[in-house]
C-alpha cells in the first residue's frame, strides 16, 4: 500500500516557534510552499527578539560559545539534508566550519576588541565590547546557507539577537537552518527568521523604533538600500551597508561583522594612588 505524501510547508521561525504567517499567505518557491511574511510578522519577530536580549546578552560568553558549538553539531548531522536542498557540498562544509569558527570567538572577542587603557590618573580604565541589541539582517541572496551563516553567526555570538529576512528565491536552506537552531539549546527569540518578499518586509524592519541595528548584506537594489538607510536614521540605528562589490563568502571573513554590532563600554575604576 502506498503512503500518503507528507507535504511540507516551510514556516517562519519566531520566538523559538514555527508559525505560519499571520497573514495566512504563502508562496511557491524551489518547488515548495513557503510562508510569505507580513509586516505584522516583522512586528512579532521584533517583540520576540527584544524579549530574548536580556537572557542572551547576559549569558556568559563561554555559555554562548557552547550553545553555538552545539548548533554546529546539529548542522553536521543535517549535512545531507542541506545537500539535498541543492546547496553545494563544499558550501555546506564551509558553512559548518564558519559556524564553529564564530562559536570560538565568543569568549575571545572581548580580549581582542576590548582594552585596558593607560590614563593620566589613579584609575584602572577598561573598554569592553557590549552587544548592540536587536539586529535586523537581510540575508545574502547568492549563497543560501554559507552566506546566511556568515551574517547570522557573527551578530549573535557577541550577544545580539537577530531578525533575519531570508533570501527570497532560496529560503529552504534558511528554514532548515532555523530547524537546526531550534534543537540547539539556542533560547527562543535569539534568531528569528522570516521568509517572503524582502522589498515588502525590510522597510518595516528598518523603520521599527525597537530595532538597534541593520545589516543590509543581502540588499541588491540601491534605491531600496538608500530608503532603508534613511528609515533607519530615525532612531539612529547602526547600519552595515550592502557590499560594494560581490562578496566571496568562502573567504576569511575577519572580525568586521562582529565588531559592526558591538558598542564599547568604558569603565573608570579608582585604584588609589
Amino acid at each position: 500500500m502506498s503512503r500518503l505524501a507528507v507535504r511540507k510547508t516551510y514556516k517562519l521561525f519566531i520566538g523559538g516557534k514555527f508559525p505560519r504567517s499571520e497573514s495566512g499567505r504563502s508562496y511557491l518557491v524551489q518547488d515548495a510552499n513557503v510562508a510569505l511574511a507580513s509586516r505584522k510578522d516583522v512586528r512579532d519577530a521584533v517583540v520576540a527578539a527584544r524579549a530574548a536580549v536580556k537572557g542572551w546578552s547576559g549569558a556568559t560568553a563561554y555559555n554562548r560559545g557552547q550553545i553555538l558549538y552545539r548548533a554546529a553539531e546539529m548542522l553536521e548531522g543535517r549535512r545531507d539534508q542541506f545537500v539535498a536542498l541543492g546547496e553545494p557540498e563544499a558550501e555546506v562544509d564551509a558553512a559548518i566550519d564558519r559556524w564553529v569558527w564564530y562559536a570560538g570567538w565568543s569568549d575571545k572577542i572581548a580580549q581582542v576588541y576590548g582594552n585596558a587603557n593607560p590614563v593620566a590618573g589613579p584609575y584602572f580604565n577598561l573598554s569592553s565590547p557590549e552587544p548592540t541589541g536587536v539586529v535586523g539582517v537581510v540575508a545574502p541572496p547568492e549563497s543560501a546557507l554559507l552566506g546566511l551563516v556568515s551574517v547570522v553567526a557573527p551578530a549573535i555570538v557577541t550577544g545580539n539577537t537577530v531578525i533575519v529576512l531570508a533570501a527570497e528565491e532560496r529560503p529552504l536552506a534558511a528554514v532548515t537552518l532555523a530547524e537546526v537552531l531550534a534543537t540547539s539549546d539556542l533560547p527562543g527569540g535569539v534568531v528569528n527568521l522570516l521568509t517572503g518578499k524582502v522589498a515588502e518586509t525590510a522597510p518595516w524592519l528598518a523603520a521599527h523604533m525597537d530595532v538597534n541595528a541593520l545589516d543590509l548584506a543581502g540588499v541588491r537594489d540601491a534605491a531600496l538600500a538608500t530608503s532603508l538607510e534613511e528609515a533607519a536614521a530615525e532612531n539612529l540605528k547602526r547600519v552595515l551597508r550592502p557590499p560594494a562589490a560581490p562578496v566571496d563568502w568562502s573567504a576569511d571573513p575577519g572580525i568586521g561583522r562582529m565588531t559592526a554590532f558591538l558598542e564599547t563600554k568604558t569603565v573608570w575604576h579608582p585604584k588609589g594612588t
Binding site: R50, W204, A207, H208, M209, V211, E234, N235
Partner: protein
C-alpha cells in the same frame, strides 16, 4: 475572529483613544512611594507628553496611604482619583476597620472607592452579610463613587459571578469590577460578558445604570478592543463611555500609546519611547 484584522484605521484610532480615556491607571504595590505616585499622576494627565492630542486617562487608582499625594498631583486635571479600600485585596478585616479605611480615603480626596466583597461570606452563602457590608461602605463613601470588586477568580462559577453582580448592584454599587489583580485568575472576557449581561438586565429591571470595570491581565490593545466590542454588543453603546466602562490596568496604557504612535507615524514604535512604571 476578534483576534485578527477586524478593526482597522479610523475605527482603530477611535477605539484606542476611547480605551485610553477608560483606563484606571493603577499602582497597587507594597513598594509604592510618593515619588512613583507623582510620576504616575503626571502620566495620567498627559499619557503621551509628545502629543497634546492624546487624551488623559479616566482615573488614577492607588492605595489609601497614597491618596493625599495623588490628590495634590491631580488637582484641576479632571482625572478622577480612585482608592482601594476595605482591607484590599483580601477583605479580611473587621467591618469597623473597613469603614474607617473607606472614610479616610474619601476624606483625603478620593472620589472613587474600589472595595472588595467578603468572598468568605459569599462562598458560604451568607449573602445578607455581604449585602449589608456593601450598603455600609456605600454609606461611608458619601459622594464618592463605589466600585465593588467581586474577585471573580475566587468565585468559581459564572452563576456565582452573576449572583455577586446582582448583590453588588442591589446594595448600591455604582460599578462592578472583576478583580483585585492579586490572584492568579483576573479579568477574562467570558466573566466580563456575564457582568455586562447583569448590568444590562439590571437597568432593564430597575432603570439604574451601573458601570463595569475589568481589571488585571488586560495588557494589549488587541485585548482592550475585544472588550470594547463585547461591551457594545452585550450592554450596548450606552456603556461605551469612561463613566460606564473602565479598564483597571498599568501595562495596557503603554501598549495603547505604542499603537497610537504607530497609527500616527506609520512605523512601529518601541517601549523605550514611553515611561516605564
Amino acid at each position: 475572529m476578534l483576534s485578527t484584522r477586524s478593526i482597522k484605521t479610523t475605527a482603530k484610532a477611535w477605539a484606542i483613544d476611547l480605551a485610553i480615556r477608560m483606563v484606571d491607571l493603577t499602582t497597587l504595590e507594597g513598594a509604592d512611594t510618593p515619588g512613583k505616585v507623582r510620576a504616575l499622576s503626571a502620566k495620567a494627565r498627559r499619557p503621551d507628553p509628545a502629543d497634546p492630542s492624546c487624551p488623559a486617562v479616566a482615573a488614577l487608582c492607588v492605595y489609601p496611604s497614597m491618596v493625599p499625594v495623588a490628590s495634590e498631583a491631580l488637582r484641576g486635571s479632571g482625572v478622577h482619583l480612585a482608592s482601594v479600600a476595605t482591607a484590599f485585596p483580601s477583605g479580611q478585616a473587621p467591618i469597623e476597620v473597613k469603614l474607617a479605611d473607606t472614610k479616610a480615603a474619601v476624606a483625603a480626596g478620593a472620589d472613587e472607592i474600589d472595595m472588595v466583597i467578603n468572598r468568605g461570606a459569599f462562598l458560604s452563602g451568607r449573602y445578607q452579610e455581604v449585602y449589608d457590608e456593601i450598603v455600609a461602605v456605600k454609606d461611608a463613601c458619601g459622594g464618592a463613587h463605589l466600585k465593588v470588586i467581586l474577585e471573580t477568580g475566587e468565585l468559581a462559577t459564572y452563576d456565582n459571578v452573576r449572583r455577586a453582580s446582582w448583590l453588588a448592584m442591589l446594595a448600591g454599587g455604582d460599578f462592578i469590577k472583576t478583580s483585585t489583580g492579586k490572584v492568579p485568575v483576573a479579568a477574562t472576557l467570558p466573566v466580563t460578558l456575564v457582568m455586562l449581561e447583569a448590568v444590562r438586565d439590571f437597568r432593564g429591571a430597575s432603570g439604574r445604570q451601573v458601570g463595569v470595570k475589568p481589571a488585571g491581565g488586560i495588557r494589549t490593545t488587541k485585548d482592550a478592543i475585544k472588550y470594547l466590542v463585547v461591551v457594545n454588543e452585550t450592554a450596548g453603546a450606552d456603556w461605551l463611555d469612561p463613566d460606564w466602562f473602565r479598564f483597571g490596568a498599568s501595562t495596557l496604557l503603554n501598549d495603547l500609546l505604542m499603537q497610537r504612535t504607530k497609527l500616527k507615524t506609520g512605523h512601529y514604535s518601541g517601549p523605550d519611547y514611553f515611561t516605564v512604571d
